[in-house]
Amino acid sequence: MQIQTYYNTKSILHKLNPLVKIICLVLISILVLVNNNIFILFALFLFLLILNLVAKIPFGVYWFYLVYFILFGIFSIALVLLAKSTLIIGLLFVLRLIILLVLSLLFIFTTSNEDLICALLKLHVPYSFAFSLSFALRFLSLIVKNTSEVIKAQKLRGYNISLAKSRTGFVPIFIPSLLLLFKNAFDMSLAAEARGFDIKKYKTKKLQWRFGDFIAIGLMILFSIFAF
């Protein structure tokens, strides 16, 4: 399966002002972290799933990321049970993590690099930080692609993944991936230099405020008041 960091499905979420999206992201994250009501958290989770449907992003892509978190979730529930605490606290914990993950992924999947830089610069985030973040997002898909190819290449040499339990087991996968990472990063910085990347002159398109943006902000505030 292909891993992408951006899906150009042109939904309502793509057209939202990226500033609004960032504000919503921060608000919902705070809400999730401070709220202890499992029903509200669950409602929020359903809401995110609906948003995902609206954004037309295939559900399958989340599995790739969620698998690790579910493993982590089982582990944390086990830990909570061992500590003789209630199951509810464990569930809350897992639900929080999953919501935060889906939320941030949804943001990344529906916000293009350019929009992200634009919004961050409007928020007076330092240039270098905004650009590093956008490069990192582009880089993510390269890393995933490289690592999966490395794993396949080593499998063909008879390397058994379950050997990875031993102390040095990861080396055959880790070293080529890391070397490729450095190489790609160098190539990319060279390409950026050669294209005449000049931060000071950087000019972005204007952020448009549409009617929908205000509705989104209004809904968000209403929801926060209700949830608190």
């Binding site: 350019e114 582009r138 390269l142 190819e149 080593q154 063909l156 040499r157 190539d187 050669a194 294209r195």
Partner: protein, 451 residues
């Protein structure tokens, strides 16, 4: 009028005693297409980096001599000034994308130049028309084929309106029809926009009728190209043998990436000791079919028979008799020495007493003396041979090579040919995937065309 004037240029990489470029004096006229050919490690890419100012600014090292663009001293000027005049396209299109969609990628360079928004829009529309890529505008990077990626990068560079365009091995990832398309585009750019174009390339056929002048780089020195440098593949049509012991049979193989993209159905069979060529345009599924045979992908329909038995993907993967060699050696090399690299595979599958064979194997692949070296410090040709050796050491009966000649110069490519012949002589079956028609013609007993 001369665009570039280079006088007594020498360059030493950081911490290196031997110069990479030796005393080069060259004049590159304005509005012409110039090509650089020659063996790998001959200094072509280094020379290109010097022209666009990346050396010594991004690499360090010691540069002697003068490079002038018109009356501007390149060594003294800043990179921002230089990028107004010259733009370079690197070999790997993947690492030159900074944005996720095509339109944003085109816009990216223009925005970082600080142009007005109207100007940006008109320029983007201009290149979209010029390159005929209007239909790709909204696609994301992951949805593009490698040929398309290269085209988009070229378009993004042309949108910046440089006067000089520098291309570092542009056809390395392209099939025949895409190369022809690129050739026409370069001609058009040169004629209509009066661009000076400088190309470094292994593929002589690509540059021959395109360029106004060809230079030959070898060991850091340059001379005008003449036919005496041309090396041809040896043709073995006369030695072609009939092989009739069947080994592998692929029947109606189909593979679906998603609902809209599908490969196949494909059927073919392979006999023992045979070299089979697999050719076809970019994205027609050559690599995918090879990976299906190696058991890396599950096929959706059809069946693969090996040695008379029908095998599933899992069984194929565990079958060490089928070896698949990745195109990029960086995917698999990780040990400290070449010998360790060769021993890794056999150790995993429980073959012992291998060290003696390893030395012989190194000999066959003309890697003798490299046994103790770090594989990451070898040249690209040697690295690729080490990857092939690391698979061969597991005693496969069938070897699948995925574009083994990419990035190799003629000398290395011919060496590859010779040892593949030697291997098939000893009873190994080989499936060879390549864009290089000459290589395929010279070595394969049979060719299958896909797509």
């Amino acid at each position: 009028m001369d665009a570039f004037r280079i006088q007594n240029l020498s360059y030493y990489f950081k911490n290196e005693e031997i110069p990479c470029l030796k005393n080069i004096t060259l004049e590159i006229p304005q509005g012409k297409i110039i090509s650089l050919v020659g063996p790998s490690g001959g200094g072509k890419s280094t020379f290109l980096y010097c022209l666009c100012g990346l050396i010594p600014k991004c690499f360090g090292g010691l540069l002697e001599g003068k490079i002038k663009y018109k009356n501007q001293d390149i060594i003294q000027s800043s990179l921002e000034e230089l990028t107004k005049e010259a733009q370079i396209m690197f070999q790997n299109p993947e690492t030159q994308f900074f944005s996720q969609t095509v339109r944003e990628e085109l816009r990216y360079g223009l925005e970082s130049k600080g142009l007005s928004l109207d100007e940006i829009e008109t320029r983007i529309e201009g290149v979209l028309d010029f390159f005929g890529i209007k239909h790709l505008e909204e696609k994301t990077v992951e949805e593009l084929s490698s040929g398309e990626k290269q085209l988009i990068i070229l378009a993004a560079l042309v949108a910046l309106k440089p006067k000089v365009l520098i291309l570092d091995e542009p056809t390395a990832n392209l099939d025949y029809s895409n190369s022809a398309k690129l050739k026409n585009l370069l001609k058009k750019l040169n004629k209509e926009l009066d661009m000076t174009i400088i190309i470094s390339e292994h593929n002589l056929d690509f540059v021959k009728d395109l360029s106004d002048k060809i230079y030959y780089f070898s060991n850091g020195a340059v001379e005008a190209y003449s036919n005496q440098f041309q090396l041809n593949y040896e043709n073995n049509k006369s030695n072609r043998k009939n092989h009739n012991i069947p080994l592998l049979k692929v029947e109606n193989l189909e593979f679906c990436y998603n609902k809209s993209k599908k490969i196949g159905p494909v059927s073919f069979n392979l006999n023992k000791g045979e070299i089979l060529g697999l050719i076809g345009p970019n994205g027609c599924g050559k690599t995918t079919i090879a990976k299906c045979i190696a058991g890396l992908y599950k096929i959706n329909k059809g069946s693969i028979y090996y040695g008379g038995k029908k095998l599933s993907a899992k069984k194929l993967l565990n079958l060490t008799e089928i070896g698949y060699v990745y195109q990029n050696p960086d995917y698999s090399l990780f040990e400290n020495s070449v010998l360790d690299e060769l021993v890794f595979g056999p150790k995993n599958i429980g073959l012992t007493g291998f060290i003696e064979d390893a030395k012989e194997l190194l000999n066959v692949l003309s890697l003798d003396g490299c046994g103790e070296k770090d594989p990451h410090n070898l040249s690209i040709g040697q690295k690729r041979r080490v990857t092939i050796a690391s698979i061969l050491s597991m005693n496969p009966k069938l070897l699948i090579l995925d574009e083994p000649d990419t990035g190799l110069d003629r000398v290395n490519s011919i060496a590859l040919c010779n040892f593949l012949r030697k291997l098939s002589g000893s009873g190994l079956s080989i499936v060879l995937i390549s864009h290089n028609i000459q290589l395929i013609e010279s070595i394969c007993d049979r060719v299958i065309k896909l797509g």
